[in-house]
Symmetry: C2
Subunit: 466 residues, 2 copies
């Protein structure tokens, strides 16, 4: 296969009992994993021992599954679990090197709180924090925050864009060396190195400064997941990693080229943003073992839950009146996540799936890339997409946890290492260093230097008077 | 001295380098304590080894000291530090028994986020979370949240009151045994044990349910600090511990009687709320050693910082035009924290203090109760207030950290234990158990039982037909 320099990046996307929708029903599953802190410690420490770049936590500000109110929800296991920022902060104390990425929505939060919590987590963890910026697209979340409906797609992204700018501005409230802490002189900080934001925009007025000193990473790493036009543009301008969901090599390469192609417009290099598709791997020592594992999980899916899932992924549209073994009906455009809706529809058309086949097809990875096979087969696929510039790495969505993650570590990682595709030791200390991302410099020192340079230069360029 | 049953409760109120305003300038201080996670681990573990009930973290949603813009702030050390919820979550992972209380404002937060984060922390810590409910009273905080001015006192408390109800309602979203996790039957939860809040009030519309199962403590412990009329009434209705600041035994006993006297109105017992004044102890092996320690800290106060502090505590009123060695001028009423303002004015009048004397008097404990003496003298004072029902325990505000806390542990705790006033071992596992607070029962099972009882009773009480 073609060569490509450097290692691929790996995230361990943690989800209570695993990513397969029926994972909690697996005989080995801890069904109460969502509130079992010991379980998450084991997962985080296993991922760190295996030298993953990061662990990743999704989020929603409501009980998941409630966007499909017309269906029974009692078989959903995502109703109640830890909140990601508290959980990652706790995991920071029992890990040393692995990155810690939590999702937080811009739709029902305030930028001051988000800037502050991720800056604090970055300090607690010694530079390992990342924020997965999302927008919220379901009415059941809006109803927990004084609204009847979620924001329309365009408004959501406009708000998210301003939100990202305010957060970045707040992270620059203090220069890296603003705090002198001069005991004898009684000066705690240098007032010239304190920057008050004074932001006044359409959605937010935020004065600042942030009450946390500049994060060890400069800025915690900003991750995004949107694949719509607005989402892509926001990612190109502000994100440093994109978590995405293309199903085929062709789509992945096109998406990769599209996003990377947008960066120059914002004065950014291709290496300033990493593309990390989600991968749902079912690994077996033989192909048949992998298939059996997968079939066992598939057999545990309650049809009602499968249908609810497809309805949710296609925009909350009620499919319950349509025959399970018939085709997906034409769907009206909604305000919900456009990119996921389109991915579902494309998948159903490409593979000519019935409603039942579609839910069976997506139940595990919830629309992400599903690989069922031997370590070699899975490594082939991961390598192919990496070397063809369809991905810079992957966010691993283990079907069951811890089993699916420990299988991946025990079986697939040695194969990736044998091929020179993944590290055996951490080279750096921060999440940024793991991902190969530059540390953002504070803009003020360079600006000061330029002004001072101009002052010094002036006398030389002005002819002597008289 | 009079006897009183049971132990007193002790909180370790952690503050970066210590509570004395010049603590960071002390030769032994870690001036960067506010972002030194190792420092906080040592403090939390020391407090736990000493069997404190809890550690306590204050908070503000802006840089502290910015409410006195007309004065130099560069000697303030409270500009930048960890955010409390992330910090406590991280500390939860490296402690086993001690309670974890973080402050969070109701003025610039949403109840869904607060209910969720404290419920999550309660699960992570195995039932050790507490929320110190405050309102925000400074314009510089408001300006970080889309406002020019903070809310007026009455509005703040009205909002806080509704906020507390929504949070309590969300913590009851799920009954304790709502999650069946029946793998074979495919039922994750019992829908009859899921309670949707459907709150619609003046300040908040929150549908629920919360996406965290019921906290191990039922509800995390709710702490409050307001001493105004509105603050006292809110505490009597909703709080389980009150952190307060009376200077004299007489005031403490009056405050204690007042608050406890309000409880019956809400169907609560006197034991359902604990009163924990702040205490700023400077301990020496001899009286002169204690005084020397204190004078060393006092000598480190920058007069500008002292003046800023007094201005801040008296409502943000600019005192800089008045002579430092003259009396406190009459102050106009402000929208700021009324109780603290009144405490300052009363103190200045009672002791006939000049502006300079007032700042020297309050700089250490920022208006809290200051005790400088030997272990015996300090224990006498703590015992006296406890046995006279002026306090159920204390929140210890060590002048320097870790030194002031380790001194208190090494010198005062043995004296308290000798007198039978403080535990030598934890009796319980949760913060509620440490404080002697009942676990709130979910209201639904009792209601169901009553209905079932009524149904069963009905046939017996109806005469046989025919």
């Amino acid at each position: 296969m073609t060569q490509r320099k450097g290692f691929l990046s790996l995230g361990a996307f943690l989800y209570p009992s695993g990513h397969h929708i029926a994972a909690w029903r697996h005989p080995e599953a801890k069904a109460d994993a969502g509130i079992d802190f010991r379980h998450y410690i084991e997962l985080a420490q296993a991922a760190e021992a295996a030298k993953f770049d990061l662990i990743f936590l999704a989020d929603g500000v409501g009980t998941r599954g409630d966007n499909v109110d017309f269906l029974s929800r009692t078989a959903h296991s995502y109703q109640a679990q830890f909140e990601p920022i508290t959980l990652l902060s706790a995991l920071a104390a029992v890990t040393q090197r692995i990155g810690l990425v939590a999702t937080a929505s811009t739709s029902f939060n305030e930028p001051y709180h988000i800037a502050r919590k991720f800056a604090s987590l970055d300090h607690i963890s010694g530079g390992r924090a990342g924020w997965n910026l999302v927008t919220s697209s379901s009415a059941h979340e809006a109803r927990n925050f004084n609204r009847e409906e979620h924001f329309a797609h365009a408004d959501r992204y406009e708000r998210a864009s301003e939100f990202a700018d305010v957060v970045a501005g707040l992270w620059n409230s203090w220069e890296d060396d603003a705090f002198e802490r001069d005991k004898a002189g009684g000066r705690f900080y240098d007032p010239d190195k304190r920057h008050v934001l004074h932001h006044r925009g359409k959605h937010f007025s935020v004065q600042g400064p942030l009450n946390v000193s500049r994060p060890p990473q400069g800025h915690p790493v900003v991750v995004q997941a949107g694949s719509s036009e607005a989402g892509r543009e926001l990612a190109a301008r502000t994100a440093e990693a994109v978590f995405t969901a293309q199903q085929t090599l062709e789509d992945a390469v096109a998406f990769y080229a599209d996003i990377k192609g947008r960066l120059a417009r914002y004065g950014r290099d291709a290496d300033d943003l990493k593309i990390l598709p989600g991968v749902f791997p079912v690994v077996g020592r033989s192909e048949s073992e992998a298939k059996e594992k997968f079939e066992q999980l598939q057999s545990l899916i309650d049809p009602v839950v499968g249908l609810a899932l497809v309805s949710g992924l296609t925009g909350g549209f009620d499919l319950s009146g349509h025959p399970l073994d018939g085709p997906i009906p034409p769907l009206p455009e909604t305000n919900a996540s456009k990119s996921r809706q389109q991915l579902m529809i494309d998948l159903a058309r490409r593979e000519n799936l019935t409603i039942r086949q579609l839910y069976q097809r997506v139940a595990g990875a919830r629309g992400h890339w599903q690989l069922v096979g031997t370590p070699g087969q899975i490594a082939d696929q991961l390598e192919e997409r990496f070397v063809h510039h369809g991905a810079d790495g992957y966010n691993i969505m283990a079907p069951t946890l811890p089993g699916g993650l420990t299988d991946f570590i025990a079986l697939v990682l040695p194969e990736l290492r044998r091929r020179g595709l993944f590290r055996s030791e951490y080279e750096g200390r921060t999440l940024r260093e793991h991902l190969g991302l530059k540390r953002p410099a504070h803009p003020a020192p360079a600006a000061r230097k330029a002004i001072a340079g101009a002052r010094e230069a002036t006398p030389l360029s002005v002819p002597a008077a008289g």
